[in-house]
C-alpha cells in the first residue's frame, strides 16, 4: 500500500496560546523511515499526534498521498501508533490486544486469527499469547505494542519515544529489530525520539526540530557533515559540534579565522566556499568543529595550545575538555582514540583539521 505523508505549513497552537508547531513542512516518502528528533518541547510529538488525529491542526494541511486528512477522525486515517508507555490494554491478554484493532475492523474470526498469528510469529510472541500485559517484560510489552500496530497493516506507522522506557542494552536490540521490521514491511514510518543516536542509527532521513520549527531534514551523514545551522550542529553528534564565536580576516595568503586568540588560515578545500566566506570578513561569525576535527600534535606541528580542564575516559576513546567556551556555555571537547599522558591544567598543543571547519553567520545559519 503506497503512502506518502506531507505536512504543508502545518501549525498547532494550543488553547492556552502556546505554539507547539510553527509552519512545519515535511515530506515523508512511501516506505521511508523518517525520524523526528529534538529536545523535549520541540514539537516533535505534537507533529506525530496531529498526523494521528489525536490533536487538531490549527493551520496548514496534512496529506496522505494526495488526500487532505485534516478533518478525518483517527479511525478513518488508517494510521497505527506505538506509544511511549506502550498503552497495552491491561485487562486483555496478548492475543486479545493484538486482535483488538482487527475486531474493530469487523473482520471475520478466521481472518482475525490468521493475522494475529502472523504478527505474533513475526515478533516472536507466539508463546506469550495467553499472557496478560503485567506478566510481560518491558521488551515483550514493546513488541506487543508493535504487533498491535502492524497487525492491521496500516498506511502509516507512528512511534513516539518508543524505546525510552527500556534499559540501554535492550534499547539497542529493539532498535535493530525495529529497523529490520520496518524494512521488511516497507511501511511509511515516522519515529519520534529525543535521542540523536537513535535518530542517526534508525532514520533513512532525520528531521531535526527545535522550538516548534523544523531545523533541517536530511540523511544522517549529511546532518553530521553539513548542518544547516548552529542548533543542528550542536544537537547532532555525541558530543555535538563545538560551536564558538569567531571573526574572519583577509590575509595575503587568503582568509584567516580567529580561534582562541590565534589566526588560522582557512584552507581552500574548506566546506565553505571562499567566495561566500569573503562576504563575512570583519564580521562576527561562528565556527564549528567536530570533536574529532582536532588532534593532539607535537609542539612543532601544533597550531594552538589550550589548557586541559577535564578528561572523560570512555574506554574506546577519551574526551578531552579545554578552556575554550562554546556558545552553549560548556567547554570545547576533543575526541582522541589513544590514551595520552596528560594532566589536567596542562597546556596541550593541538592541530586543527581546517577543512573540517564549519562556518555560521551571526544568526546561526550555515555558510557553505
Amino acid at each position: 500500500m503506497m503512502a506518502s505523508v506531507t505536512y504543508k505549513q502545518v501549525s498547532k497552537r494550543f488553547e492556552d496560546g502556546t505554539g507547539a508547531l510553527v509552519d512545519f513542512d515535511l515530506q515523508v516518502d512511501d516506505g521511508e523511515l523518517m525520524v523526528l528528533v529534538g529536545p523535549s518541547g520541540c514539537g516533535k510529538s505534537t507533529a506525530l499526534r496531529l498526523l494521528a488525529g489525536l490533536e487538531s491542526v490549527s493551520a496548514g494541511e496534512l496529506l496522505i498521498n494526495d488526500t487532505v486528512i485534516n478533518d478525518l477522525s483517527p479511525q478513518q486515517r488508517n494510521i497505527a501508533m506505538v506509544f511511549q508507555n506502550y498503552a497495552l490494554y491491561p485487562h486483555m491478554s496478548v492475543r486479545r490486544n493484538l486482535a483488538f484493532p482487527l475486531r474493530m475492523m469487523k473482520l471475520p474470526a478466521e481472518e482475525v486469527a490468521r493475522r494475529t498469528a502472523w504478527a505474533a510469529e513475526l515478533l516472536e510472541l507466539s508463546d506469550l499469547l495467553e499472557r496478560m500485559p503485567k506478566q510481560l517484560s518491558g521488551g515483550q510489552r514493546q513488541r506487543v505494542a508493535m504487533g498491535r500496530a502492524i497487525v492491521r497493516e496500516p498506511q502509516v506507522f507512528l512511534m513516539d519515544e518508543t524505546l525510552s522506557n527500556l534499559d540501554a542494552k535492550l534499547r539497542i536490540q529493539i532498535r535493530i529489530e525495529i529497523a529490520a521490521l520496518q524494512r521488511r514491511l516497507n511501511i511509511t514510518t515516522l519515529y519520534v525520539t529525543h535521542d540523536q543516536v537513535e535518530a542517526m542509527t534508525l532514520g533513512d532521513r532525520v528531521a531535526v526540530m527545535n522550538a516548534g520549527r523544523l531545523q533541517q531534514v536530511a540523511m544522517p551523514q549529511v546532518l553530521y557533515e553539513r548542518p544547516d545551522n548552529t542548533f543542528v550542529a550542536g544537537f547532532i553528534g555525541s558530543p555535538g559540534m563545538n560551536v564558538l564565536a569567531s571573526r574572519l580576516q583577509r590575509r595575503e595568503s587568503g582568509l584567516a579565522v580567529e580561534f582562541s586568540g590565534q589566526w588560522l588560515d582557512v584552507s581552500l578545500d574548506s566546506r565553505a566556499s571562499h567566495a561566500r566566506l569573503a562576504r563575512y570578513v570583519d564580521q562576527p561569525v561562528f565556527i564549528g568543529l567536530r570533536p574529532e576535527a582536532l588532534e593532539l600534535a607535537s609542539a612543532t606541528r601544533a597550531q594552538v595550545e589550550l589548557t586541559l580542564t577535564a578528561v572523560e575516559a570512555l574506554g574506546h576513546e577519551q574526551l578531552l575538555y579545554f578552556d575554550v567556551p562554546l556558545i552553549t556555555g560548556s567547554n570545547m571537547i576533543v575526541r582522541v582514540q589513544d590514551t595520552p599522558a596528560v594532566t589536567i591544567g596542562d597546556r596541550i598543543p593541538l592541530r586543527i583539521h581546517a577543512r573540517e571547519l564549519c562556518f555560521f553567520d551571526a544568526q546561526g545559519a550555515a555558510i557553505y
Binding site: A52, G53, P74, Q75, I79, A87, Y89, H91, P133, R148
Partner: protein
C-alpha cells in the same frame, strides 16, 4: 521491651478496646437480643446478660414475618436501592467520563454546577421536588423513589477523578485502533475502572438503603414502601416486642453487609492492581 513501653502499649490497647466495645455493643445487643425469647430480652436488658446469648431461638424472626409483610418491604428496598445503584453506575460513569475526557462547549460551567449540587442536601429541595413529582403523577410508585436519585453529583465526581487518573494513551490507542468514543468507554475504560465502580456501588447502596424522609413524603401504603419506613411503623405496632424489633433490625442490616463484602473484594483487588507498574 521495658516496663514503661509496655505500660503505654497496654493503655493504648485498653483505649482501643473501649472504643471498639462502644461501637460494637449496640450491634451485638441487637443480634443477641433477636435470638432470645421475648421474656428474657426485657428482663436482661438492664444487665450485662443482655450480651450473653441464651438458647438459639428464631421465633422473633418468624414473628416479624407474621406481623408485617417483611418480604414485601425487603423486596421494595432491594429493588429501589438496586435500581438506583445500577442505573446510577451507568449514568454517573458516563457523565464523569464526559467531564473528564470529552471536549464540549459548556463543560466547565456544567461541572461547576455539579460540584455545587454536591453540597445541596435533599432536605433543601424536598418540597419543590415533592410538588414536581406530584405534578408528574408519580406518587406511590417505585419510579418516584428511583428517578430523582440516579444522577448523583458525588458519584459523578468520584468517576471524574478516577477517569482523570487513567493513562490517556489507553484511550488514544483505542481510538487509533478504530474504536469510537462509546466503544472505547465500554471496552477499555470500564474494565479498567472496577475500583471506582465498586466504591460507587458501596457508597450508593449505603446512602440509598437508609433513606427515610423522601419515601415518607411520597408513598402511602406498604406496596412500594422501603424497610426504613417499615421498621418505624413496626416500632409503633402494638404489642411492643423488643425481640421482634431486634430481629427486624438484623435482617435490615444484613444486605448492606453482603453488598459490602461482595464489592470489597473487587475494591481491594483494584487497588492492588493499580499499584503495580504497567
Amino acid at each position: 521491651m521495658n516496663g514503661r513501653r509496655m505500660l503505654t502499649t497496654g493503655l493504648r490497647y485498653a483505649a482501643l478496646l473501649l472504643l471498639a466495645v462502644l461501637f460494637v455493643s449496640p450491634i451485638l445487643l441487637m443480634v443477641v437480643g433477636s435470638l432470645k425469647p421475648e421474656a428474657r430480652v426485657l428482663v436482661e436488658a438492664g444487665s450485662l446478660k443482655a450480651f450473653v446469648p441464651g438458647e438459639w431461638d428464631l421465633r422473633n424472626y418468624r414473628d416479624v414475618f407474621a406481623r408485617v409483610a417483611f418480604g414485601r418491604y425487603l423486596f421494595n428496598s432491594l429493588f429501589i436501592t438496586g435500581m438506583v445503584v445500577l442505573a446510577g453506575m451507568v449514568v454517573n460513569s458516563l457523565a464523569g467520563y464526559a467531564f473528564a475526557r470529552l471536549a464540549w462547549r459548556g463543560r466547565k460551567v456544567l461541572f461547576v454546577l455539579v460540584l455545587a449540587i454536591l453540597i445541596l442536601p435533599l432536605e433543601a429541595i424536598a418540597v419543590p421536588l415533592f410538588y414536581q413529582v406530584t405534578l408528574f403523577g408519580w406518587r406511590d410508585t417505585y419510579l418516584v423513589q428511583i428517578a430523582p436519585f440516579v444522577a448523583n453529583a458525588f458519584s459523578i465526581y468520584l468517576f471524574y477523578t478516577f477517569f482523570l487518573g487513567l493513562p490517556r494513551e489507553l484511550e488514544e490507542a483505542a481510538r487509533l485502533d478504530g474504536a469510537g468514543v462509546l466503544r472505547t468507554f465500554l471496552t477499555i475504560i470500564v474494565p479498567n475502572s472496577k475500583p471506582v465502580f465498586a466504591t460507587v456501588a458501596i457508597l450508593g447502596f449505603l446512602m440509598q438503603w437508609g433513606v427515610f424522609l423522601w419515601p415518607l413524603m411520597v408513598t402511602g401504603g406498604e406496596a412500594v414502601r422501603p424497610l426504613p419506613l417499615a421498621i418505624a411503623t413496626f416500632y409503633t405496632l402494638p404489642p411492643l416486642q423488643w425481640g421482634d424489633i431486634f430481629a427486624f433490625g438484623v435482617m435490615m442490616v444484613l444486605p448492606i453487609l453482603l453488598v459490602f463484602i461482595f464489592f470489597q473484594r473487587w475494591f481491594i483487588r483494584g487497588v492492588v492492581a493499580t499499584g503495580i507498574k504497567g
